[in-house]
């Protein structure tokens, strides 16, 4: 007996699972979310979303219920299962790695955005602390590279790297500030 994998197989899978967990949604709802909100940053299209939902359903991480089954235009609304919630919680609680900070900041932010409904404040704060730490650590490395690029006399390369450094610096500060906000309340 072959068991289906117990967690989403792609970033899109986690995104959809997390969104559906926050609010039960149809494929079309999710398509619109990716079209009309800042989620658009996580570019996706119907051709990816509908198959991904099917996969999640087959893995029993979400369940779909057909509204107006009699109607000629049925609407299939998905919601997360307890297995889906478990997978999400594991995802949300995973440690922040250097590798993710370098190559996958976007996914880290999505994780933070969706973890509100999933983990307690302590876990969220741990996430932010790890994130800030890794960012600050990586900043040192980036500044080392900046010297080399600057010395090489490549204005575009230097400017591009400076932009990357600023981005990381701002994000680290944001994480510290968010940590403060989550501390109060």
């Amino acid at each position: 007996m072959v068991k289906p994998a117990d967690r989403p197989s792609t970033p899109l899978g986690y995104a959809l699972l997390g969104l559906v967990h926050r609010q039960p949604s149809s494929g079309y709802d999710l398509c619109r979310l990716f079209e009309t909100t800042p989620m658009a940053h996580y570019s996706s299209s119907p051709g990816a979303i509908y198959p991904a939902l099917r996969r999640l359903e087959k893995q029993e991480l979400i369940t779909g219920e057909t509204e107006k089954a009699d109607s000629l235009r049925p609407r299939r609304v998905y919601r997360s299962t307890s297995a889906g919630e478990a997978a999400l919680r594991e995802w949300a609680s995973a440690r922040v790695t250097r590798d993710e900070v370098v190559r996958d900041l976007d996914m880290l932010m999505l994780r933070f955005a969706l973890m509100g409904a999933l983990v307690d404040r302590a876990a969220a704060r741990r996430f932010l602390e790890e994130l800030a730490g890794e960012l600050e650590d990586y900043l040192g490395e980036l500044e080392g590279h900046l010297e080399k690029v600057a010395a090489a006399g490549d204005p575009h390369g230097r400017l591009a790297l400076e932009s990357g450094i600023e981005q990381h610096r701002v994000l680290a500060r944001w994480a510290r500030r968010a940590l403060g906000e989550l501390g109060e309340a």
Copy 2:
């Protein structure tokens, strides 16, 4: 007679073509670049790089020359062809679209980093002006969303969106500053 496509078919193709144009390199050189420099952000692996180089060569956008052909450990060094340079120049000169600003900022930055050796200062400044303009425009939209998210009482969503807004704001300022720097000199 089937002509091969006259430009790279993927972002990785453009990245490799641009890097090779700046400095003739072997597959291994490029692998190391993606491993040990801030190019690591544009995550890639040998399994993608070597086939991509082959594709570019088949399209005659780059040519490979085998160093030490007699040796038992040959090293294949690629350099851009004139067709490759033309494709790069077209890429570098393309207008900045809203869609790229929303979904593909990373590629825009890579474009800027590599366009130094490809287009004149006027073209680079036009790029930065379009980028800054689109960013500032998009910022308005993001702030509209922020009100909604804040009103919805979702602290994580609000914080994540605030981080996105800061990122875009900082990038817009960077573009304006870079514009100034490229203006002098």
